[in-house]
């Protein structure tokens, strides 16, 4: 059995999760400070990818990155690179689709954070950055980790946008999900079943991890309330 689709899926998900982790934290932190109207509007825009069909996200990405489109043409001209149909093109797709999960979970965790803790750190003379990394994040770590694991699991299961921007090239851009589709399409049910089982096992592990994290978060919250 050729394990390339699994390795490819894992590396795509890993890279996109790292990106989404920082982007989501940043967005959750900054958007909380905006005035109400801007906050509401941005919140809708940033959450849309969660509910839109992945094909819509894929189509929008192609509109931006296709070889004849503004960004795609620019990168092609300057770096001689094609943004689509590479294995790493799928990273853009998974970032777009899994970002809302990280953003919303982190924002929920930040909203439960007692602002007095941050104020205490600042009146003690510590920088805003110190307060964020050493106080806020550790206090919200369960929620933030749950968001990251959810984002990773979502990226692993991503099919629609990925197949549109990265396509299916065996040994180059194939992921677990596109492989299952390809094997089913060519009538290889046994092969499809193997990948389906791999996929189910992986996703179950991640969801279990999310549940454990959220359980611990709830327990920590109850302890804090006293």
């Amino acid at each position: 059995m050729d394990w390339f689709p699994l390795c490819n899926s894992l590396r795509i998900s890993a890279i996109s999760t790292v990106a989404v982790f920082f982007l989501g934290l940043w967005a959750a932190q900054e958007i909380a400070r905006l005035p109400r109207l801007a906050k509401g509007a941005l919140d809708v825009v940033l959450t849309l990818p969660l509910v839109l069909p992945p094909t819509v996200m894929g189509w929008l990405l192609l509109l931006l990155m296709g070889p004849n489109r503004p960004l795609g043409a620019f990168v092609g001209e300057v770096f001689g690179l094609r943004l689509v149909m590479q294995w790493w093109s799928a990273v853009f797709a998974t970032i777009a689709v899994s970002f809302p999960l990280m953003y919303r979970t982190a924002r929920g965790a930040f909203e439960a954070f007692d602002p007095a803790l941050g104020d205490a750190g600042r009146t003690l003379g510590r920088s805003d950055l110190w307060v964020f990394w050493r106080v806020k994040l550790p206090c919200c770590r369960q929620g933030v980790l749950a968001g990251a694991v959810l984002a990773f699991a979502r990226a692993l299961g991503e099919y629609g946008a990925t197949s549109m921007v990265a396509g299916y090239t065996p040994g180059r851009t194939a992921t677990v999900s596109t492989t299952v589709y390809q094997l089913w399409r060519t009538g290889d049910d046994a092969g499809a079943l193997r990948w389906v089982l791999v996929n189910i096992a992986l996703s179950a592990c991640f969801l279990l991890a999310v549940n454990l994290l959220e359980e611990r978060e709830r327990r920590a919250g109850r302890r804090r309330q006293g």
Binding site: A116, A120, T123, G125, C139
Partner: protein, 437 residues
């Protein structure tokens, strides 16, 4: 060394205007009901919130100035803030919490052990805050605060979340810990007892407006306005009309005499014996007002302490009331009264009496106790009449002989009539302005 504050900030429907000066070594109590803007004021001083305009200065250093576009971040203000729930970092140990205020390594190595020793935290230095007792949490927060070498300390209702026994203990610890601090200190509270015990100066804040700070004795003995009277615990407040030497209370149908100098009564002025109006239908201004015309009348608030009301002696001028409720409280008996002269349902008058017989566990005996009765007599089980032939009128003679069943003085029962006297010098009058009750 002093802290000068003069700030304004919009606060939803109301606005904050806080202006006061705190001298070093003279803690100022910021006393006000919840929602009056106390915490917002502290947060503005610490730089957590930003005032709309104004000026904040500490030891000659400007922390905030809207005209000069100065707004130092909290990190550079060196203002220590003790949060209501202490705001200890829950994921750090006590040691790490204190070390958070000591980023410099050399200083940390020198000062951390000292602070742990001084605040008796050595035994719990590796524990997380939630495993600590209330006292240890407060000491850890104080140690962390003092580790940051603040030039000014702000205490945000430090004791209000605590149960009574723990509260007394932590109040003592807080006093002890802050004894050595020489800079300006602001103590926010809604508890006048806490303000009285811990501060010399009190600044009353209400609906976002501060009154100029005053010595606590002045505030509680001679409030200057309605808000100060209410925060100082003056129980009876009514709307009234002031004439040249008396004040009418239309809700109660009463006219009370005033001492000759009307605003702040000197102790010498006795109430004129004939001045009490005993009839509801008596024309206002009739009693002793020589001019008696409306030109000399002005609307005022009339306030007096429940303890200033007392049962009248025989022959003394008084107004008859009906007892509508008797509340047996820890520190005495509250009697709610309705003057006979009042119409409809007036707000009740409150009178405070000591317990009778005096309960040995509670307040010491006062005026209502017949002479010669001391707690030791009661404890020995002997009940003897006082030597003096006539006991004071407030403690009817029958109570001397019957065994006490309740702490309510005999002769006091709901529905009974009681003649009540009030000395003119116990009455506070305040300009009405545009405030209403």
């Amino acid at each position: 060394m002093s802290l000068i504050v003069d700030i304004r900030k919009g606060l939803g429907p109301t606005s904050l205007h806080a202006a006061f000066t705190v001298a070093a070594g003279e803690p100022l109590a910021l006393l006000g009901p919840s929602g009056s803007g106390k915490s917002v004021t502290l947060k503005c001083i610490a730089g957590i919130l930003r005032p709309d305009e104004g000026h904040i200065e500490l030891d000659g250093m400007t922390l905030f100035d809207s005209a000069g576009h100065i707004d130092l971040p909290p990190q550079r203000r060196q203002v220590g803030y003790l949060f209501q729930q202490y705001a200890l970092f829950p994921h750090m140990t006590v040691e790490q919490n204190i070390a958070a205020a000591l980023p410099d390594r050399a200083r940390r190595e020198k000062e951390l052990p000292e602070l742990l020793r001084r605040f008796r935290l050595e035994g719990v230095s590796r524990q997380k805050p939630r495993t600590l007792s209330g006292g240890e949490q407060q000491r850890a927060a104080l140690a962390r605060l003092l580790a940051s070498h603040p030039r000014c300390i702000l205490l945000d209702e430090p004791l209000s979340a605590l149960d009574a026994p723990l509260r007394a203990q932590l109040e003592l610890e807080l006093q002890t810990a802050l004894e050595d601090f020489s800079g300006p200190m602001v103590w926010v509270t809604h508890d006048r007892g806490e303000a009285w015990r811990n501060c010399r100066e009190v600044c009353v804040i209400h609906h976002g407006r501060t009154r100029p700070p005053r010595a606590k004795e002045d505030l509680f003995r001679a409030p200057r306005d309605l808000v100060e009277a209410q925060m100082g615990g003056v129980e009876n407040v009514f709307e009234g009309v002031k004439t040249s030497n008396s004040v009418q209370l239309p809700q109660l149908g009463l006219t009370l005499p005033l001492p000759s100098a009307p605003s702040q009564p000197p102790p010498s002025a006795p109430p004129s014996p004939s001045a009490y109006s005993e009839k509801a239908d008596e024309k206002p201004g009739k009693s002793g007002d020589i001019f008696g015309d409306s030109l000399s009348k002005s609307p005022v608030f009339v306030a007096f302490r429940a303890a200033a009301l007392r049962p009248a002696a025989p022959g003394e001028s008084a107004f008859p009331c009906e007892i509508i409720r008797i509340i047996d409280d820890l520190d005495g008996i509250s009697v709610l009264l309705r003057p006979k002269s009042s119409e409809k349902d007036p707000p009740p008058l409150r009178m405070k009496l000591p317990h009778s017989p005096p309960s040995s566990v509670l307040s010491p005996p006062q005026s209502l106790v017949p002479q010669g009765f001391a707690p030791s007599d009661r404890q020995s089980g002997r009940l003897a009449p006082a030597d003096a032939g006539t006991p004071p009128p407030a403690a009817p003679s029958s109570s001397v002989f019957s065994p006490p069943r309740s702490l309510v003085p005999q002769g006091f029962a709901v529905g009974q009539e009681l003649r009540v006297a009030l000395a003119g010098e116990d009455i506070f009058l305040f300009e009405k302005g545009d405030i209403s009750l």
